[in-house]
């Protein structure tokens, strides 16, 4: 499912891509500007639109950026160290807080990593619940992104805020569905090794169906927002063009990669869980600019809504966990080994690399977050851009600092 080739005819898009020469992120400012005339602006760590606590040191010539140096780690919470101190069962609620707008995807990734080590496969009902949750979470996460992207462009006291409020209204209704399923609005702690903790309550299907029917009707509004709003187009077209080769080499994945014309989705290309049987239509766009990323995310929301409706039809009966008594810590003890499992989170490839040493705690657990890779595009995209465009570009990459810093 290509969303058309973006909004630009292919020759123009190719031209834009060719022009986006790869700037040097390691530019030596001292020799570039021996007089010290550049304005050094510290964007963040507390700034309305750095999406958390990112700090970017910008060297500005007038308002045009010469060099951008991101400084990470203002939210480094030592999750990987904490994983070494906790048992496999206790880790799930911790990783919820990594990518805090898509907690379900985090749980899915880490538990799939553990299951790879154990060699178990969740029962079909649990697979269904997992796929459902992941797709619902994708819609919720993209909704939040659209809202904050509007804030980046329109300001907290303007039209952007209106967009933000509207997307949050929809997001709240998805969170309600999760609250009914898991008892929690935000950090669910609902998956565990070998399956799920919470079964689908009675009447939940109807609630989800209604919610998503409403949302899919309202996506039209956001769609018209892209197609008809001249200011939106002017601000996003040709801004922050990501070269596909650079993106691959930087390990960028997810909507940012797909908006650059690389047709790659883990759900289809390295299927896991229920996606082995499910046909996922992957949305791509070729322009690689901020508007292409917006369109790809919109199309992904549509596709996720379709998948949710499809999955709700065929939830099989049965157990929701293959393992017995998994509620007690210490019961999960994989054999020594190293495993890697990856899922397609709303932001891209979210992987877990686990080293087991035969005890009930992982020896080393690394979370491969897509946000870190997406953010590493910024030093390449920012030079030559206006300050306003840097904000928009940063917003369109959708970094979640909890996942970047971990």
């Amino acid at each position: 499912m290509a969303v058309g080739h973006g909004h630009l005819p292919e020759p123009v898009a190719a031209l834009i891509r060719a022009r986006a020469a790869v700037p040097n992120p390691h530019l030596d400012v001292e020799s570039y500007d021996p007089e010290g005339d550049l304005l050094v602006l510290n964007l963040g760590p507390q700034h309305p639109s750095t999406h958390g606590v990112l700090r970017v040191k910008l060297y500005l010539d007038g308002e045009v950026c010469i060099k951008a140096v991101p400084y990470l780690g203002y939210l480094h919470r030592g999750v990987e160290k904490l994983c070494e101190k906790l048992t496999y069962v206790q880790i799930t609620p911790i990783v919820d807080k990594n990518d805090y707008v898509a907690a379900f995807s985090n749980e899915l990734a880490i538990n799939m990593g553990f299951e790879t080590l154990l060699g178990v496969e969740p029962p079909p009902r649990a697979q269904h619940i997992r796929a459902l949750g992941a797709e619902m979470q994708r819609v919720a996460s993209h909704l939040l992104w659209i809202g904050t992207f509007g804030l980046d462009m329109g300001g907290a006291l303007g039209g952007g805020a209106t967009l933000f409020m509207h997307t949050f209204r929809e997001r709240e209704s998805i969170l309600d569905c999760f609250e009914v399923l898991t008892g929690s609005r935000f950090h669910y702690n609902t998956l565990q090794v070998g399956g799920c903790r919470h079964d689908i309550p009675a009447g939940w299907e109807t609630l989800v169906r209604q919610t998503f029917a409403t949302i899919s009707a309202r996506i039209e509004e956001y769609e018209s927002f892209v197609r008809t709003n001249a200011i939106f187009l002017a601000r996003t077209r040709g801004v922050g063009v990501v070269d596909a080769e650079l993106a691959l080499s930087l390990g960028v994945s997810g909507p940012v990669l797909r908006a650059s014309g690389v047709d790659y989705d883990l759900r289809r290309d390295r299927p896991y869980g229920l996606y082995r049987e499910l046909k996922v239509n992957v949305a791509t766009a070729s322009a690689g600019d901020c508007q292409a990323r917006f369109e790809v995310r919109l199309a992904e929301m549509r596709e996720s809504i379709r998948l949710v409706n499809l999955l709700l039809d065929g939830v099989p009966e049965g157990p929701i966990n293959v393992l017995k008594a998994v509620k007690l810590p210490g019961t999960v003890k994989p054999k020594p080994g190293i495993g890697y499992a990856a899922i397609e989170s709303p932001r891209g490839e979210l992987g877990t690399w686990v080293v087991a040493d035969g005890s009930d705690k992982p020896y080393r657990c690394k979370i491969r977050g897509p946000s870190l890779h997406a953010l590493s595009l910024l030093p390449y995209l920012a030079p030559g851009q206006n300050l306003s465009d840097i904000i928009v570009t940063l917003g369109s990459l959708d970094p979640i600092m909890g996942e970047v810093d971990r």
Binding site: L75, R77, R169
Partner: protein, 226 residues
């Protein structure tokens, strides 16, 4: 009383002169009440949103909950804010910045620690890079427990802060705000206790966990027996 730029408190001479004027007490207390009313009903918030709680703070400002109803809006610069809401984990690298931003806010100012990370560090409290509670380096007026707290809990926090300001300005004694007990932190948003699918051993395990916790706060170390 006022605060000058060297952060010393002093009584304005005009205020002293006014106090000696006959009938001034009635007028002054009324004026003070009006001023307090203004102060409590226009609390502009500086969102020190670092992580998950920041998203719930946004949700509180959004249509379902709407902080604007009680006159609270978020401003991007600390110079124009009255309340700093510390929403999220504060790390060692971030803490100096938080302190600096807190110092940049004009008096009178208050702080709300939103979420268990800001209150005590929660389960990151033993991590090498996380500050175990923001009240270790700056004053906190109201604690809003939860992980993250629901937006309505933040509303309740702001209401508590208003009440506190009112009582302070009237010179009444207020209960000093303490870190909430950890059992309060652990209470789920929706109690699933009555659910038929819930195992009895879970309840027992939760009860044991609660009974074994440090009642004084959340700073219990593994080596420290209470």
């Amino acid at each position: 009383m006022a605060v000058n730029e060297e952060n010393e408190t002093f009584v304005h001479p005009l205020y002293e002169a006014l106090e000696r004027f006959p009938g001034a007490d009635v007028g002054l207390t009324t004026a003070d009440r009006v001023l307090t009313w203004g102060l409590t009903n226009a609390l502009w918030v500086f969102p020190m949103a670092t992580s998950c709680c920041g998203i719930e703070f946004m949700a509180a400002a959004c249509s379902r909950f709407d902080l604007d109803r009680i006159g609270t809006i978020a401003r991007g610069t600390p110079r124009q804010c009255d309340v700093m809401v510390i929403a999220g984990t504060i790390t060692v690298k971030m803490a100096p910045r938080v302190k600096k931003l807190w110092d940049q806010m004009p008096e009178p100012k208050w702080a709300i620690a939103m979420g268990s990370c800001a209150i005590s560090g929660d389960f990151y409290r033993d991590i090498y890079s996380v500050v175990p509670g923001v009240d270790t380096f700056m004053p906190v007026d109201v604690y809003v427990p939860g992980c993250p707290p629901n937006p309505d809990a933040l509303f309740m926090g702001i209401r508590r802060l208003q009440e506190k300001i009112r009582l302070k300005r009237e010179g009444k004694w207020t209960e000093p705000e303490l870190r909430p007990d950890t059992p309060g932190l652990r209470s789920p948003a929706i109690g699933r206790l009555g659910d038929p699918g819930r195992d009895a051993c879970t309840s027992q395990a939760q009860l044991d966990a609660v009974l074994g916790l440090d009642p004084g706060g959340g700073l219990r170390r593994p080596d420290q027996k209470s």
